[in-house]
């Protein structure tokens, strides 16, 4: 909402509002946030109202005119380029010596040989609007020679106020004035509400109209007045200016007055052309399913059951609280009007406005709750303005149907309680004073408790003692509460699994960073097309109102979006990537949604960083497998790798039903196990998928279910003593068919491990001329040792021979001599 300080000062004649920054600061620190201040008329000191008294074409330029402008004390020759300049027009003239807000200095000059002694300005040149066509046309009634700031009432500052949804009472000048009066509290200075000086004629309103409310819940109060013999015309300049400054387009004096009173007092009003109301009755009822009306914006609206309708004897004439109907609208020949001022139920209005997607100034205020006691005052005020401005005659008495008056609410306020919550002592006297300044009525006060009656404009939002505490704290200023630190008791209630998960996630990420991986974060949404290209279609979580088709599914796996990141980076010529993501994945599980944390990683290109002394190495499957192994060891888990069979794939939690295998290379993949529980996989992305993503280099990936990993056993061993005896090292080379997996050999060694074998390492796989073409030679280093003696060569030989015998038991393996 925009607040003009000039207008506001009418309500607060005894307050000093000259410093806009001051008022803005006090309001902001009291909870009414002022987001911006704009000062009108700055830099317009040398601009005056002029009248064009003659206009001729410039002899040397088609588009320029030579004008003589009367600015009161003299007549100036001015060259003007605007198309709309004409005889008799009132215009803003910047005289020689003026510096305009845009920095332009006005000098006497010759334009194509013709003298120009000033400049006729456009609105944008004056800094009044961003862009404008042609020069500004001033109202006819503007006085020649007067400063523009005066003529346009520009000595004003506008505050842009951002209101929180609980403060519907501040959607008016009256409301903001109450706040200013409270935050600028001054002894004896009071708010002056708008004057109402009605001169009613003797004819009673009730002779022409009656009001019937069918549903007092939806409409607890409906008031109306009739004003006759009006003349519909444009509003006076001051009224139009005030509306425009608040962003409301002037229409005619009748409609403008309703909008003006709404801004002034916060009460939305509606006017009907009296002659269009049939049967002398206003009936407030709820709509029936499927009823149709045409609203003021000329749109056909189909109603649901339960919208508030204002009807005459025959038909609906307005959608209550939201918008009027077209055929009861004020027109040029309207002479008698019925003014409506009512209280409609906030939720009802909100539902109607949402359903029809029709948000008006009026519905916006009604859904935040208007002041039920202000309803009648606003009615009188509007009638009074119509009488004064439109020459209308106000009929005697208002119709006021108020079947269920709002009850006065009294709340007890304990200063002791306020102290306990705020941590600052506020005396009962000061509390009472602050509350009174906001319009609360302190009915009785002791040291222990104040009985406080809530003003009718705060019934919605102040309902409890704690709300009063906030009122006092905010008006007194949060600055007045001293900062402290909480003491309190030892917190026993931590939630262990959460802390453990937090630590596990941090450990995994930290280690990957040390291994050279970069963490990525993608949005949780993916497009159905992307998932389709990965052959993922089951148990997807689809959003009802996504930001768009490509954001319509919650991702069931991190891999597709990570590959998306790979593609984007490669497009930027960043070809060497190791990216991981540790985030939530989603799957529907019956009526609920299964959320799990997954750790996924993708890598491609060269093993960075590059070094001049080394040959560039491509990232391989083994890089990822090795990192994964080290990673899981790092979090004290026992890891092993097994074939990723269809069955195993199905057993991977959160992957069940999702066709993981289809986006992996058919050969290059393995399942990852921890303590016999499958927790994920490591593998290469299928080239078919990469083709679709237009990635032309091999990509490797792994995926771990972190929620599942958390449930596996941590196997941190106690310290093992270090042997004092020497280790004896032996190498063997095993000749085996090329297509046989080395894993088989490792399995044999592990299964037949002699007790003195401490560990073994595979250190070479040889293919070449020294051995037959269909074979490979695998070299293994074996370390023997004992914790209680030095081993003899014979002991080692014996153990080794036994191991060799086990290896050679199968014809597949042969020891190379």
């Amino acid at each position: 909402m925009i607040i003009s300080l000039r207008w506001l000062s009418q309500f607060l004649p005894h307050f000093d509002l000259t410093k806009a920054e001051d008022v803005a600061h006090k309001l902001t620190m009291g909870g009414i946030e002022v987001e911006a201040i704009s000062k009108l008329g700055e830099g317009l000191n040398g601009v005056v109202v002029g009248e064009v008294i003659s206009k001729k074409k410039h002899p040397d330029a088609d588009k320029l005119s030579l004008c003589v402008v009367n600015i009161g004390k003299e007549k100036l020759s001015v060259v003007c380029g605007a198309a709309n300049v004409r005889d008799g027009l009132k215009v803003p003239v910047a005289v020689v010596g003026t510096e305009l807000p845009n920095g332009l200095k006005i000098k006497s000059s010759k334009i194509r040989g013709e003298i120009s002694e000033g400049m006729i300005c456009s609105e944008s040149e004056l800094g009044l609007t961003g862009t404008s066509l042609g020069i500004m046309e001033l109202p006819e009634e503007s006085k020649v020679g007067v400063a523009l700031t005066e003529a346009l009432d520009l000595k004003d500052s506008l505050l842009e106020v951002a209101l929180t949804p609980n403060r519907g009472d501040c959607l008016s000048y009256l409301g903001i004035a109450r706040e200013v009066a409270a935050v600028c509290r001054r002894e004896g200075a009071k708010l002056v509400p708008p004057a109402i000086g009605l001169h009613e004629i003797s004819q009673p309103t009730s002779q022409f109209m009656r009001v019937e409310i069918e549903d007092p819940e939806a409409c607890p109060r409906y008031t109306a007045r009739i004003v006759g013999n009006l003349k519909v015309a444009p509003s006076p300049f001051w009224l139009r200016t005030r509306l425009e400054r608040n962003g409301i387009r002037p229409i005619n004096n009748i409609v403008d007055i309703t909008n003006y009173v709404m801004l002034e007092m916060g009460q939305p009003l509606h006017v009907f052309d009296l002659k269009t109301i049939e049967g002398g009755v206003i009936r407030v009822r709820l709509s029936k399913e499927g009823e149709k009306i045409v609203t003021l914006d000329k749109k056909d609206r189909r109603l649901d059951k339960g919208d508030i309708l204002i009807c005459d004897a025959q038909r609906p004439i307005a959608l209550g609280g939201v918008m009027g109907c077209e055929d009861s609208e004020i027109s040029a020949d309207t002479s008698d009007v019925l003014i409506e001022s009512a209280f409609f139920h906030p939720t009802k209005i909100r539902l109607t406005s949402r359903r029809l997607n029709l948000i008006s100034e009026s519905s916006y205020r009604f859904e935040r709750g208007v002041d039920p006691e202000n309803v009648i005052k606003a009615l009188h005020r509007a009638a009074c303005l119509m009488q004064d401005i439109c020459g209308g005659r106000v009929l005697n008495g208002a119709l006021d149907s108020y079947p269920k008056p709002f009850k006065k609410i009294v709340i007890g306020f304990r200063p002791e309680r306020a102290k306990r919550i705020l941590g600052a002592e506020i005396s009962p006297e000061e509390s009472g004073e602050i509350l009174s300044s906001l319009g609360f009525h302190v009915k009785s006060a002791t040291q222990d408790i104040l009985q406080v009656e809530i003003p009718s404009w705060r019934l919605n939002d102040v309902t409890r003692e704690v709300d009063l505490i906030e009122e006092i704290a905010r008006i007194r200023g949060y600055e007045s509460v001293p900062s402290s630190l909480p003491g309190g008791r030892f917190v026993e209630n931590i939630l262990p699994p959460e802390d453990a998960l937090f630590k596990l996630k941090a450990d995994l990420s930290d280690m990957l960073v040390k291994f050279g991986w970069r963490e990525a974060i993608n949005l949780s949404f993916v497009s159905p097309q992307l998932l389709k290209s990965f052959h993922i279609s089951d148990r997807l979580v689809t959003l009802l109102n996504p930001l768009g088709e490509e954001f319509s599914i919650l991702r069931p796996t991190l891999i597709p979006s990570l590959l998306g990141s790979v593609r984007k980076n490669i497009a930027q010529q960043n070809m060497d990537l190791r990216l991981f993501e540790l985030r939530t994945v989603f799957q529907s599980k019956g009526k609920s949604i299964d959320e799990r944390y997954h750790l996924s990683a993708v890598a491609t290109g060269e093993s960075s960083p590059k070094f001049w002394g080394d040959k560039a190495k491509e990232i391989t499957f083994y890089d990822l497998k090795g990192d994964l192994e080290a990673l899981l060891k790092g979090v004290n888990r026992c890891v092993d790798f097994r074939p990723l069979t269809a069955q195993v794939r199905a057993a991977i939690p959160a992957k069940a039903g999702i066709c993981v295998p289809l986006y992996l290379h058919p050969h290059n993949n393995q399942a990852v196990y921890v303590s016999n529980i499958s927790i994920g996989w490591v593998g290469e992305i299928h080239p078919d998928i990469l083709d679709k993503l237009e990635i032309e280099q091999r990509v490797f990936a792994f995926d771990i279910d972190v929620s599942r990993l958390l449930e596996t056993e941590s196997t941190k061993d106690l310290f093992k003593s270090i042997s004092r005896y020497p280790v004896i090292s032996r190498d063997i080379a095993v000749l085996m068919p090329r297509e046989t997996e080395v894993g088989k050999l490792i399995e044999i060694i592990s299964n037949n491990k002699p007790s003195i074998l401490i560990h073994f390492d595979l250190f070479d796989v040889y293919l070449g001329e020294q051995i037959p073409k269909d074979k490979k030679s695998v070299a293994i280093n074996l370390n023997f040792g004992s914790s209680d003696k030095t081993l003899k060569d014979e002991e080692v030989d014996q153990a080794l021979n036994k191991l060799i015998a086990s290896i050679q038991k199968s014809d597949t393996f042969k020891i190379r001599e």
Binding site: I421, G423, Y478, V491, F515
Partner: protein, 343 residues
């Protein structure tokens, strides 16, 4: 007689040593010379044996002469060996010379996402007050996300958050506040918790992402005041932004009363007013307040006995301010040219 022999010997030895020193394998040659003179059958050794065979009268003089020559040859041999060793080491050092101006070989080190780094920094500050980390689901029910937090259906306060729905009742949480409710349902006060996580709203431009991150904090005990809230959050501002000037402005959140926004003095212009703080001199950092008694009612806490404060910090905004990032979408593009700036 012996004198002549010795003279000749010593001359020969000197020549041989010089000759050896000129050779590539000087050390080896010198060793050979040592054996030639002082070995078991070495020339000097033999001479000493001969001296033993002389008469008692001749022996002292002859012995002393031989020893003199022995010492002199030994000394020159020793200095020759030292010289040869030194030359050998020098030539090795020369051969080992590197071009130390070539670049070094760096280990490959990755990086945590800047949002993870900021989340950790913030959590670490509150950990010093004993806050422990908890998490809640990102898919929430209407009740946890709204109703229990005093945001009824068909109330204008729902407009503050544009929601993404999965079904009528399920939605993507619009804030981390529902975790408060879930924790309070499980445990009794006192409690101090921090809930970081992703939240979602229906919004997408340079300063709004449909997914962003928050950290929710909650402290509940018997004697917790608004002053404590100011103290804890003021401490946070000082530690995180190195800016100790903060202000608390009254605001509105349906689940706190009184409610406040905390601003810090703009750390770009130090309060003078600049583009970043829109000339106000202040930056809006977080929302906070005393837990509304009706929230306590929803979780079965006695609102007369317990009180507490809650706060919610958006992670992206302070990260953008602190790191000078102009567009929120950069966080989720995963361009390595962006990621590698935050080691």
């Amino acid at each position: 007689m012996i004198r002549e022999t010795l003279e000749k010997l010593s001359k020969e030895a000197a020549e041989q040593i010089n000759e050896a020193l000129a050779k590539e394998n000087a050390l080896e040659m010198l060793e050979r010379i040592r054996v030639l003179y002082f070995g078991r059958k070495g020339k000097i050794t033999e001479l000493l044996k001969d001296v033993g065979k002389l008469s008692q009268a001749e022996r002292p003089e002859a012995g002393s002469l031989v020893n003199q020559v022995k010492k002199s040859i030994e000394a020159s041999l020793e200095s020759a060996i030292q010289g040869a060793k030194k030359r050998k080491r020098e030539s090795r050092l020369k051969s080992e010379r590197l071009d130390v101006t070539l670049p070094g070989k760096s280990p490959k080190i990755g990086s945590l996402h800047p949002l993870t780094q900021i989340e950790r920094d913030i959590s670490a500050i509150f950990a010093r007050f004993g806050f422990s980390v908890v998490r809640g689901p990102e898919v929430e029910t209407d009740w946890y996300n709204f109703e229990s937090l005093n945001i009824p259906k068909d109330h204008p306060s729902r407009d503050m958050q544009d929601t993404i729905y999965i079904s009528n009742d399920l939605l993507l949480r619009t804030h981390t506040s529902p975790v408060q409710i879930r924790v309070m349902q499980q445990v009794k006060p006192p409690l101090r918790i921090l809930c970081p996580g992703a939240v979602y709203r229906h919004d997408f431009d340079a300063s709004h992402s449909p997914m962003f991150h928050q950290i929710e904090g909650l402290l509940v005990d018997e004697e917790v005041t608004f002053g404590d809230l100011k103290g804890v959050l003021g401490f946070f501002a000082r530690e995180f932004f190195h800016e100790s000037k903060v202000r608390f402005r009254p605001s509105f959140f349906p689940f706190t009363e009184p409610s406040a926004e905390m601003d810090i003095q703009c750390f770009i212009c130090h309060g003078k007013g600049c583009v970043v703080c829109k000339q106000s001199g202040w930056m809006e950092i977080l929302g906070c307040g005393m837990v509304d008694p009706s929230v306590f009612k929803h979780v079965g806490y006695d609102a007369e006995r317990y009180q507490g404060f809650a706060f919610g910090i958006g992670i992206e905004r302070p990260a953008m301010l602190k790191l000078g990032i102009p567009d929120i979408r950069l966080f989720f593009d995963n361009d390595v040219r962006f990621l590698r700036q935050f080691q």
